[in-house]
Symmetry: D2
């Protein structure tokens, strides 16, 4: 057994306690400190996880030699400053989603980690659930064939957030999952986002996101704070099989359908023509058993393993950046009333320059 | 009891037999003839509904004095020519969806019916189901309050149609229903449509349609031929209550949730400010009992009643036109790669003219 | 292709038309006549299936040489007399459930068919549905292992029948299915039946039937006319796997769970002891695809094939007798207030004689 | 605000921690001590609830003046001795289910509490869930009318208990709930129990319990350790409405169906006859909203309130006795191979004496 790595959790608000609890029971980690500006809150949390150190000054924390890594669970606008400081102090860093509040700041974090030889991990918790790990495995081994479409629905009567719209609140889950399961990650060229604010809340409460994927495939995300019923469902259509993930059905979360449509070329007068024959498969359905395991425990293990092996974690800073790019493009599409926008902002600017050039 | 009206069914293919069967048993109607170019097919159908006349020449049919109305169930490209002839012969007309294959031809049909004082009815069958009739009634009486959003899903492993894409195949159902239940009908200013053809079938097999409604509300339609599971669900969110229609759950098709979000104005320093308070309702759910009644029978009754009362039927030619306008705009948006397009084509042309003018 | 067998349907009431329609389109059969005391009813049915002969006198029908078999769909109390006559005239016979209104009369029918070398088939329609055929196949090939328990629920808001209780109305379905899928058929030594008549309808409207099976297994049937929700579910637990059949879920009627409990013997101090170790399997779930086929068509084919091959059909007279025995024992248990009674009535009498002898 | 009552929890095993946690946060209670023979276990629990006293000697605990009540969460065979001691020391007592391991010992506890003027409460936790409280309220106010039948299903792949069968493990939940919601409590005259042990585990793993109720109604309980699917459902049929409680559907736990059958007397020839007319109601369904509240918190409040008001708690010792009587009769019926047995054992003995007398 290798010696334990030592971690501190920065931020004792909503999410920090979950991280602290999991690191405190992980065989890979020793939780050494809780850091929060609010000493009472930090002490309360420290007591609940077995009496670790309490620190209110982050510089003091980062100066310590007995801390190998930090997990940052503070508001998004502080992620960049804290992560840069921590990386500069030689600590590995895990950051709660979203990675940063702007793409270029996230990029700076990723670059610093890279040149420093440190691990920067995005806290995409859902990716470590047994269901998502199994989906990734099935896609990797080719069980679904090529991906044709992904349709994700995450709707519920939800708390209207004061500072973010329904996309920034809920879609990071869908986007990080899609990024995780797609070989090569989520790299749409463009997207369109459609939001509705029918209550006059000053931000989208109902949202739809359309993401064209490579090869004519498409991903679609529906997020909604106003739905009286709760749905957490993702359908992933492939050339071989289609998978339905219903996260609210613990008795059958994953169903893999051997049903689908096959298009074949038809030889007409000895010439192969594009006029296709269509055939349908109506095969069995299969629901793989899933282990009962907490996602955060798996994520803590992956963080430790990536540090020990000197490799990027499964949800690395680049994954965080890809999700962030999509969220930023979403905001641009919304501002343009649902227009199709490129996901890479520089491409966007280039396009605008081209358009400008064309108009001249 | 008033004397029965006399009707002939034109077209004995897929849908005609359903119309013939319902008119033949309706107390309001006497079915007098089946008309089809294929005599065998017409005779087969005529025999199954009690031995009515068989006609292969539509002009001969329309020349008859003992026919008050015709129901047209032929391919969409023939609707215009047949309907115009029938109206010109003084017959009331019901036309299978879509009303016509182009908006201007549908408009000509509506105009001729209007000047002739004849009824032109769109065969929007779904609108006469007990579920949709109840939804319309609930919205009309204010049970839902103002409509905030409508989300409609109609997905299934479906037959890939040779001549139309998934929007023209499935969305007319959703659009005609939304048109029927919204006071004032479906009149979006603009829309965007996103389609995917991941199998290379030459047309969209997965489709999403975004329809901004008045007052910041939004309708969204998801149609899909590639889904292994069948979903027929519509969620209608209102300021007072939200309704979920699950057409595949015969034991509880409609659920009305007294749950939702209320935004209220807050008086700050004696001044009413837009800074809103948010409150949540978590009330009871109610599922109204629905009668067991076949929609086509209800539609036949409405056709007769509208003729007798000299009024437009509930799904009149204008309703058919509104659906057609949305389908045409859908095609334009798809051709423009998902761009937001105006629904009224003339507006579209005007916009283009403006753009052209601006570019000069 | 062998020549078609010729059949007549006796009884044109509720069920006869379904039989007539299926025989009329079966490639194995030629429907030659409809026989009913009510000539109008017989003629109406004959017209709907293509104009076959109409007969009102059953003796006249049975005297005909061009009839190989008859299907009897008349009230239960007439089954015995009609079947005996038909068998005596050398016709093969299919009889609607229940086989007869009393066990000894059913036995006489089976015996006459046997000595005459004719096929007597019980119309246990459910056994020919794709779901039940697949269940039988799975049990036969050992996929479930040994059967541990069968729990069948058939409840709905149902019509209170004037002449029979809820057991005789609904349980024949469950019993004939259990008889069909169990290797060796349904042969309980004893049973107990518990009925409730809380409305004072004069007969059981809610019923429970407990059937001990060989090897400590147990079958249980719940039938209910007073349930507001409809359930049609059978759970079949086996040593290897457990199967759940939900007939109201067309998207996943059958689910085979590789979950269960294993008991193993434990060697204690070198001696194998009955003190068992318990282990749990939590494996995958699998839902076999089922063809879309009408059960009555399959049953007509089996009737023809059994006649041609001179073998008993899958649901033969003996199967009908086994179901009848259980229904009769059910009535005896109900009369004895839920007491455990032997299924074989003669055993019952023997037991009583023994008890009497013991009391002397 | 009244002063808090002071309580100690005896037993720090499986259930004790839940009780301790709830009493420690209840406004009505001050948790003063944890008592367990195993000091380490007691100290571990005491630390987690804020550092209360630890006691290993129950006599020492009961001698304290600063303890008003005790909650006993030890093995069933110790309930009687501990409760008698506690009552004799003047403490109010709450006892985990079952009340005792034998009816006469439970009776002794109830009698001692009664003569001492102390509260003896049965820990029937389920009765304090929002769903069961609402069911009781609906029955009390007459919303369901007279009860016609109760059908309860509690099945799951469950742990085979070393010392009790599936009835003693699971049925106390159903029985305590039925006792709680029926006006007058659960008082069947007789019952029959049918158990199966198909794995040879030495005890029933599948069980059915039939309980005739007053007025021809019937309760039925199905408990099962071998089911691969989990069902927690109770159907309560009444003359006015029927209620379905699906505890695994958090979005709609309770459904009240205004559907049912009405029998009316029919006047024939001016004479009222029992031949009944049958009519059916097919009305709306209604699902009441339920508050989110932990049952144990409600139970702690009820315990405090009953002590302060000097009245029996809603689930008093008599309720515990009624459940115990049914469990004991269940064991007798199982031993008699499913025979109908009286619930009151003394009645049973009387019957046997009568039989004996009759046999002489």
């Amino acid at each position: 057994m290798e010696p334990q790595l030592r971690i501190a959790v920065i931020g004792a608000g909503y999410w920090g306690p979950n991280l602290a609890r999991n690191f405190s029971v992980s065989p890979d980690w020793r939780l050494v400190a809780i850091c929060d500006l609010d000493r009472d809150r930090a002490e309360g949390l420290a007591a609940r996880v077995g009496g670790v150190d309490v620190v209110t000054d982050v510089d003091e924390l980062l100066a310590r030699d007995d801390v190998d890594a930090v997990a940052i669970a503070t508001p998004a606008r502080t992620h960049h400053a804290l992560a840069i400081k921590a990386l500069a102090s030689g600590k590995h860093v895990m950051v709660e989603k979203p990675l940063a509040d702007a793409g270029h700041r996230g990029r700076a974090m990723v670059d610093l980690a890279s040149v420093s030889g440190l691990v920067l991990m995005a806290d995409h918790t859902y990716c470590y659930t047994p269901a998502v790990l199994k989906i990734r495995e099935l896609i990797e081994e080719g069980a679904l064939g090529d991906i044709l479409f992904i349709d994700s629905t995450r709707i519920n009567l939800g708390l209207i957030q004061p500072d973010v719209d329904v996309f920034w609140d809920l879609a990071p889950h869908d986007l990080s999952i899609i990024d995780f399961i797609l070989p090569g990650g989520l790299k749409p060229q463009s997207l369109s986002a459609h939001g509705a604010d029918p209550l006059g809340a000053g931000k989208s409460c109902v949202g739809y996101l359309v993401l064209p994927l490579a090869g004519g495939a498409m991903a679609h995300v529906h997020v909604n704070w106003l739905s009286p019923t709760k749905i957490r469902q993702m359908v992933i259509g492939g050339t071989k099989r289609t998978l339905v993930w219903d996260d609210l059905n613990p008795q059958q979360r994953l169903s893999v359908y051997d049903r689908g449509v096959d298009l074949g070329l038809q030889a007409v007068d000895g010439v192969e023509r594009t006029a296709a024959t269509v055939s349908y498969r109506l095969g069995d359905t299969w629901s793989p058993a899933l282990p009962e395991r907490e996602a955060l425990g798996q994520m803590a293990a992956e963080f430790a393993e990536s540090i020990r092996e000197g490799r990027p974690p499964r949800t690395d800073g680049e994954a965080g950046l890809r999700v962030l790019s999509v969220l930023e493009a979403t905001a641009r599409s919304l501002a343009a009333n649902g227009a199709v926008v490129p996901v890479d902002e520089r491409a966007d600017e280039a396009t605008r320059a081209e358009q400008l050039a064309g108009a001249l």
